[in-house]
Every structure is written in structure tokens, then in C-alpha cells.
């Protein structure tokens, strides 16, 4: 199923697919495979690799409230309109790391031109290498990590400005 969450005027489009207690969640070019259960109403225990996410979710009259890691977020499930889709496309340049691990190779530097599909960065975690690739043609605005750096899940690896007109 596809879901759009709105939080502070920003829309996050997520897809999720369930197989018993396994959930395959896709968001921002990355897929997260998690094992999860609702231990009591609204209380979720989610295993992602060697990490455990604990979260409490409840539905209000119009909003959902999510508690995780000591913080509360108010979100709304929304249907996407054309205008909002455009807004999201702009955000594609953000390449978040889908794993916590170590940066083992950085292939680019600030200002480099990149082509769609180029390898930008290699992250190693759990003895696997993960390649960060350019999602479109563009120019590197900022490389946020260097070799040997530790990177956490969800952190932005590289900022790319999309080349216009191709």
C-alpha cells in the first residue's frame, strides 16, 4: 500500500508491504525490511537490523501522533494532489543512508558533475557494501561524509542539484 504523510507542510510518500510480521517499507529510494509487532494497542516494537525502534502511535480526531525516541510528531495521512507531487520531486536530491555503518569510499567531491546512476559513495555495514547512486543528472552541491566516517540511518549522504533541461 502507498501512504502519504504530511508533517509540517511537507509530504512523505511511503510504501509498505506486509508479510506476516515482516514489513517492507520504501521511502526516499531506500527500502527497510523490518520485523514488527504491536505489543499493546498503539505500542510498536520494531526490529531493524540490530536496532530496535519503540514507538507509540495514536489517532486523534484528525491527526496521528507518533512518539519515538522521546519526541512527539503530529502527522496527517493525505491524498496527494498534483501540486504536492511536484514539491516532493524536488526533494529527490536528498540521498539518505538506509543503513548505519561506515563510509568506505567517496567517489565524488563538491562541484562534480554526476550522471544518473553514477556511484557516489560506498557504505559498509554488517559486512555488506551499499552503493549510493545519483538518482538523476546533476552537480554535487555538498558531500556530507568522508571516508572512515560513521554514518547513521537516515542521515543525508550527498546533496545534489538536479540539472535542468535533460
Amino acid at each position: 500500500m502507498f501512504i502519504n504523510y504530511e508533517h509540517e507542510n511537507h509530504v512523505y510518500n511511503v510504501s509498505v508491504e506486509r508479510r506476516k510480521d515482516l514489513f517492507f517499507i520504501t521511502y526516499d529510494n531506500a527500502e527497510y525490511k523490518v520485523k514488527a509487532e504491536e505489543i499493546k494497542p498503539g505500542h510498536l516494537k520494531i526490529k531493524l537490523g540490530d536496532r530496535t525502534i519503540k514507538s507509540v502511535i495514536t489517532k486523534g480526531k484528525t491527526d496521528k501522533f507518533v512518539f519515538t525516541d522521546g519526541n512527539v510528531f503530529k502527522v496527517k495521512n493525505v491524498e496527494l494532489t498534483g501540486a504536492r507531487k511536484t514539491k516532493i520531486r524536488k526533494e529527490e536530491g536528498n540521498l539518505n543512508s538506509p543503513i548505519s555503518g561506515k563510509v568506505v569510499n567517496v567517489k565524488i567531491k563538491n562541484g562534480d558533475k554526476v550522471k544518473k546512476g553514477d556511484v557516489l559513495m560506498i557504505i559498509e555495514a554488517m559486512k555488506m557494501e551499499y552503493l549510493i547512486r545519483a538518482p538523476f543528472n546533476g552537480r554535487v552541491k555538498k558531500v556530507n561524509f568522508k571516508e572512515e566516517d560513521q554514518i547513521e540511518i537516515g542521515q543525508n549522504t550527498v546533496d545534489i542539484i538536479k540539472k535542468v533541461g535533460t
Binding site: M1, I3, Y5, H10, Y12, V14, V16, E17, R18, L22, F23, F24, I25, Y27, N29, A30, E31, Y32, K33, V34, K35, A36, E38, G42, L44, I46, K47, L48, G49, I53, S55, V56, T58, G60, K61, K64, F65, V66, F67, T68, D69, G70, N71, V72, F73, V75, N77, N96, P98, I99, G117, A125, M128, Y130, L131, I132, R133, P135, I153, G154
Partner: protein, 500 residues
């Protein structure tokens, strides 16, 4: 002992007092307004009496209604809690004249301590240090300069009619004293139409330190050490701790003696608190006396093992203190955070709404004093404090760590709270070092707003799982990867997460 007590309050403090009564086998009567029908204090008491309209003046501040409720229920005493009628001498007097015991000091003492200038004069006479100042009638420059030099520097010149910093000057030496007085007068005249000024010693790096007092009706008076309450926003405390990180044993004894002297000077009885201002050089000055149980009383209970609410009842019932000053010891360290329904990103504006989910952190040496529940409506009628969390540990560092942990597990969904803000304050490096003053929030958290970093990935994953579990249709077939350039194409079957 009393047979039945009416609690003239609501929220966590009413719950706290009802529980103390229940432990002692005393029947309880709650009063409630129309919006508090389902409130914990209403439900917990043996009897509950409806006061009607939720407006405070029609309910929790309405003396005739509350006295009548006590008479109808046959209560022999009234506990006022804090706030509302707790420091209203007319209420204490009304109880007295109807033969109902008011659990607190004598109405005359409440009245005296409520008059800040009279209280200061009484304390000065009794030999308790007060902030040196001149509030006299001689307003010519020469007299004011003479008085100013007598008080010493730094000196605060402030407009008698002042407010908002207008007509206020901080003077550091006598060279500029006269011109500062003149300019304060000019500003005061143009802002308030009145050029009368007061002089007061300016307190640098002020800390708010208060001492807990217990006194019986025979005049036995003890103090139960200090509480450091310097962390305040809008002149209201939000984090309190004991012992204070700055106070030595020697200073504690000195201040404790002064607090006892202050209480004895007015023949104080029952629980009370003497508030001092402590300056950067550890000089202390009497500020005021609170003639009631304080919000932050649990930190004293956690470190002394003494139940202050129960002692209030015992003292009011005529019992003498069995506790001796020399036998009192404080063990470890305790800290309290006040949880407010308010938005720290918007100037601590109170927030209202439904509490969609409430889940308190529990664990060793963690105490939750609350008057809320899942489903409760937070209305604009009363103070936005929802609950208090109190932790204790062997030392300050461990209390801080425990509090950070507890706040990270504190779930209140539905209204904006100050929980994230409290976590940030306690985690601040200057707070951890104990370098705190009453200006701490203004110095380090002025215009603080919650970081707008968007939804973290953990929240997105949790939402997706939640919606997947709660969706009616279960999708079994994986959707086809539509993006041929997805990086996942290059990593084969491997996925992040649990092994298959």
C-alpha cells in the same frame, strides 16, 4: 485524627492529598467543576461534590460554595493544596469561623506574608537578611545618592510605577549614580507620569534557593534543607532539585537557621517555605514566605524520607513534631520536572486539546505525581501543569541521567508539552555543571524552537508499520520495482534488516 477532609483543589495536588488521607484512614471529599467530572481527583475521593461552572471564580475559588460543601459533607478539615485558595487569608478565616480546621497556618500569618513589603520589614526586624534598599519619600538627588552609596554597588534604580524594564538602571559605581538617577526619573516621568524611584541592591547571578519548614502548633520548628529552584521560565519554576549544587554544608546550616528564625518570627505553624535569593558571592536575602505546601515538595520527601502532606494533617490535628533537627539527614539527590501543556517554541503558550494517549515512565526511584489520564480534555480554565516527574539517585549526575532517560520515555500525545524542551535544558552542559541562575532559560534558550528537521526515519517506519497493521486489506504481493535506477537493483537480493 480528623474523620473527613475536604480537598479544595484539583489536579495532581488533590490526588496527592487524597492518597495521604487514604493511607491514614481519613475519608475524603473532592470538589469539582463541570469539566472535571471524570478527573482523577473526582474519581479517587470517597465523595465528590459538584461546584458547577468551570470558571475558577465560580468553582475552585468560590469560598461560600466550598465552605457549604464541607458543611454538607460533614468534613472536619479542609486542605487547600497550592494555588487557588491556599494563600487566601479570607478563606482560612472563613474555615475558622465555621469551625472547620484549615490545614495551614493562621490566617493572620497568611495575610502578613502576602504583603511583600510588610513581610520584608518583619524579617528585617527579626534579623533575617533582606535585600538592602531604599523605598523612602526623600526623592531629591542628594538624598538618593546618599542612600545609594549606603546600599552599595551594583545598585538597581527602578521606577516605583515601573514595569518592563522602563525607568530601570543598573549602576556599577558612584561616578554615574546621580546621572543614572536623573535619567531613570526622566524615563519614568515620560512613561508613567511619575518620577518616584526606589533603590535596591542589584543581585548578580541570582539563584532561587528555598528552605522547607515544618512547625507544629506548640512552636517546634525545623527545616528540611533547601531546594534549588533557579530554572524558571516566565518567573515560574520548571526544574527543581535538592541538594543545590552550589551550597556547602556550612552555608546550608546558616541559611537553614535563618529560615527557622523567619518562621518563628511570625509564629508560623504547619508546612511552609522560606524563599531566598542567593547572589554570585553566596550572600542570601529573604524574598518571601509561601504559607502552603509547594509544588516541588516531593524532592524533599525523596531525600529525607519524610511525608510532608501527612505531617500537614498531623500538625493540623494538634500533634507535636517528633522529628528533631539534629536527626534529619538528606540522602542522595532528587530532581523534579514539571510537565506543562504548553509550547516552548511559541513563548510557552498554553496548549489545549484531548490527551489521546498518556504513558508514564516507571522504574526504580521514579515518582509520578499526576492528575491526568488518556482521554482527558485539557481546558483553558486552569493552570496548564499536567503532572510532575520526580527522580532520586545517589548523586546529581545520576539524577540527571535518570531524568533524561525518564523524559525520553514520557508519552503524552494529543497536546503540545514541554517534555522535549526539558530534555534539552537538562542536557545543557552548563546545567550539568550546576552553573545555573534564574536567568538560565533567558541566557541559553531565548527564542528556542523545536528543531524542524522533519519526520525522522524511525517515525516514518513506525507509521508505515502501524498503518499496515491497521489497514483492512492485506497486500501479499510485492509491488514491482518501477524505478529502473533504484540503487536496490545493484545490491541483488540483499536487504537491510533482519536475516531471512
Amino acid at each position: 485524627m480528623f474523620k473527613k477532609i475536604l480537598i479544595a483543589n484539583r489536579g495532581e495536588i488533590a490526588v496527592r492529598i487524597i492518597k495521604a488521607c487514604q493511607e491514614m484512614g481519613i475519608k475524603t471529599v473532592a470538589v469539582y467543576s463541570n469539566v472535571d467530572k471524570k478527573a482523577p481527583h473526582t474519581q479517587l475521593a470517597d465523595e465528590s461534590i459538584n461546584l458547577g461552572d468551570p470558571t475558577p471564580i465560580e468553582s475552585y475559588l468560590n469560598i461560600p460554595k466550598i465552605i457549604k460543601s464541607a458543611q454538607d459533607a460533614g468534613a472536619d478539615a479542609i486542605h487547600p493544596g497550592y494555588g487557588f485558595l491556599a494563600e487566601n487569608p479570607d478563606f482560612a478565616q472563613a474555615c475558622k469561623s465555621k469551625g472547620i480546621k484549615f490545614i495551614g497556618p493562621n490566617p493572620d500569618v497568611i495575610s502578613l506574608m502576602g504583603d511583600k513589603i510588610a513581610a520584608k520589614k518583619t524579617m528585617e526586624k527579626a534579623g533575617v537578611p533582606v535585600i538592602p534598599g531604599y523605598h523612602g519619600k526623600n526623592q531629591d538627588n542628594a538624598s538618593l545618592v546618599k542612600e545609594g552609596i549606603k546600599i552599595g554597588f551594583p545598585l538597581l534604580v527602578k521606577a516605583a510605577a515601573g514595569g518592563g524594564g522602563k525607568g530601570m538602571r543598573i549602576v556599577h559605581n558612584d561616578d554615574v549614580l546621580e546621572e543614572s538617577i536623573e535619567s531613570a526619573k526622566r524615563e519614568s516621568k515620560s512613561s508613567f507620569g511619575n518620577d518616584i524611584v526606589f533603590l535596591e541592591k542589584y543581585i548578580e547571578k541570582p539563584r532561587h534557593i528555598e528552605f522547607q519548614i515544618l512547625a507544629d502548633e506548640s512552636g517546634n520548628t525545623i527545616h528540611l534543607f533547601e531546594r534549588e529552584c533557579s530554572i524558571q521560565r516566565r518567573h515560574q519554576k520548571i526544574i527543581e532539585e535538592t541538594p543545590s549544587p552550589i551550597i556547602s554544608q556550612e552555608l546550608r546550616e546558616k541559611m537553614g537557621k535563618a529560615a527557622v528564625k523567619a518562621a518563628k518570627a511570625v509564629n508560623y505553624y504547619n508546612a511552609g517555605t522560606v524563599e531566598f535569593m542567593l547572589d554570585g558571592n553566596l550572600n542570601f536575602f529573604f524574598m518571601e514566605m509561601n504559607t502552603r505546601l509547594q509544588v516541588e515538595h516531593p524532592i524533599t520527601e525523596m531525600t529525607t524520607g519524610i511525608d510532608l502532606a501527612k505531617w500537614q494533617l498531623k500538625i493540623a490535628n494538634g500533634m507535636e513534631l517528633t522529628l528533631k533537627q539534629k536527626d534529619l539527614i538528606q540522602r542522595g539527590h532528587a530532581m523534579e520536572c514539571r510537565i506543562y501543556a504548553e509550547n516552548p517554541s511559541k513563548g510557552f503558550l498554553p496548549s489545549i486539546g484531548t490527551l489521546e494517549k498518556v504513558d508514564f515512565p516507571t522504574g526504580p526511584n521514579i515518582r509520578n505525581d499526576t492528575g491526568i489520564f488518556t482521554g482527558m480534555e485539557i481546558t483553558p480554565y486552569y493552570d496548564p501543569m499536567l503532572s510532575k516527574i520526580i527522580v532520586s539517585s545517589e548523586n546529581r549526575e545520576e539524577s540527571i541521567n535518570k531524568m533524561i532517560w525518564a523524559l525520553s520515555k514520557y508519552v503524552i500525545l494529543g497536546v503540545t508539552t514541554n517534555i522535549s524542551f526539558l530534555q534539552k535544558v537538562i542536557s545543557h552542559k552548563e546545567f550539568k555543571k550546576g552553573n545555573i541562575t534564574t536567568h538560565f532559560i533567558d541566557n541559553y534558550f531565548k527564542d528556542w524552537t523545536i528543531a524542524k528537521e522533519g519526520l525522522p526515519i524511525n517515525a516514518i517506519i513506525a507509521l508505515a508499520v502501524y498503518d499496515s497493521i491497521h489497514s483492512r486489506t492485506q497486500e501479499i504481493v510485492r509491488y514491482k520495482e518501477s524505478d529502473p535506477h533504484s540503487p536496490w537493483k545493484h545490491v541483488g537480493r540483499w536487504r537491510i534488516g533482519v536475516e531471512e
